[in-house]
Symmetry: D2
Subunit: 137 residues, 4 copies
């Protein structure tokens, strides 16, 4: 299930659409998305581009952190690239590990075929008072 | 100036092309690139997407770390998003801060108009023995 | 249980002893340790010092990554401080999330009373060929 | 020069004292400190302990971020260990790279003899409204 406000939020995310990311689930501090890999996601060495992997992880980070109805801005992200991915489908899942009125932190796992862990991503947002509605979503 | 092997490397980077990144300079452990921002680089809140900023930083990270003629693979990246960017042109510059036969670390600054610092990025690569030529570049 | 070589490794860790860290379990890519907090672990604001929390996390990172019999060197660490800790006992647990002959990555959770998550730590090591025995352990 | 409030802040930092850190300069979003290395700063492999290096970097991070008179709390830190240190004296210097009313980011360089870069540290704080005076400093 995808929360209504997050469905609208996702629709307005031009970069995620350009990369080809599909949102699968979003709400209550969590989100899942997938990316069907094709030619445009490759780097010069022929493997999946780190920035494509990051874009997928970043999308679930944004969906999970904006799921409480107020605007969340990414402050800091750290990502470890664990194994090369060579095609197929990537999945990303964000989980909220801590939240207070001002800050929240998420852990995102990016997996490939057979649930192999491809990248581990840890990110913190600053939570504004502004609601998603107030920014037109 | 762009080293010949890095010019070929960049040409094969499908994701960087898809995002619209232009390589300005690359060689000797350094690289510079720019991204002219348009509609596709926006997020739902109407500001420049974190993943677009990351993609630009990642490209100069790859160019700088592969500039010694052997293949370098991104292991770990940490990025701080410092200020919102709302359009115009972004520049990224990578600088090598340490290198040994196996590992190298780079600092990347992403700046907007008037040289404002937009994001600070720190990344480490694992250096393979394989040459760029051996992977067909 | 603590692997014999890791027990000797820990005994030689002068800084961990100085901080007051106790190793509880170490072996097979995992480790657990605890820190009974006292006056010396406080910062100026009277809460547990970030560097004390880091020291505890770093110790299980070292134990887990050196548990395969060869020397592992910390390359990169990212830590999120999630909640203030005000005393009592801290526990840290390291878990291996990826390993290959050259690199390995660990996730470390630092928890306080009632298993509250205090800090989340992600670290990568470079794995040398040298055995622990060869460096005198 | 060390700002008066930061001198008092440093005096109350029990962990920094326990580690043996000396504050050299602090004020206006910057700070410098040093650590004369001895036996207690070693790890099992006989080199300077990553957590000792972190503790030094963390101290200048705290001094620089608390230098504006209001309380700053560390949210996220990323550190790259670039070269082994085997003794002597370490210096750390913090520089403010961005600041707004709620968040600020610092870059810290840890250097050894001959200004060799030992570690690079990037950290973000959350800035509270509370003044240092209000927490008794």
């Amino acid at each position: 299930m995808i929360q209504d406000d997050l469905a609208r939020f996702f629709e307005k995310d031009r970069f995620a659409a350009h990369v080809g990311i599909e949102l699968l689930q979003a709400g209550d501090g969590r989100a899942r998305a997938r990316l069907v890999l094709d030619e445009r996601h490759r780097n010069a060495a022929g493997v999946t581009h780190g920035a494509a992997i990051f874009s997928l992880a970043d999308l679930v980070f944004a969906m999970a952190s904006n799921s409480h109805g107020t605007v969340a801005l990414g402050v800091n992200v750290s990502v470890s690239f664990l194994r090369a991915s060579r095609g197929g489908v990537l999945h990303a899942e964000a989980r909220e590990v801590a939240i207070n009125p001002k800050l929240a932190t998420y852990e995102i796992r990016v997996t490939g075929e057979d649930q192999t862990l491809i990248a581990l991503f840890q990110g913190t947002v600053y939570r504004k008072r502004e609601t998603l509605e107030e920014i037109g979503i």
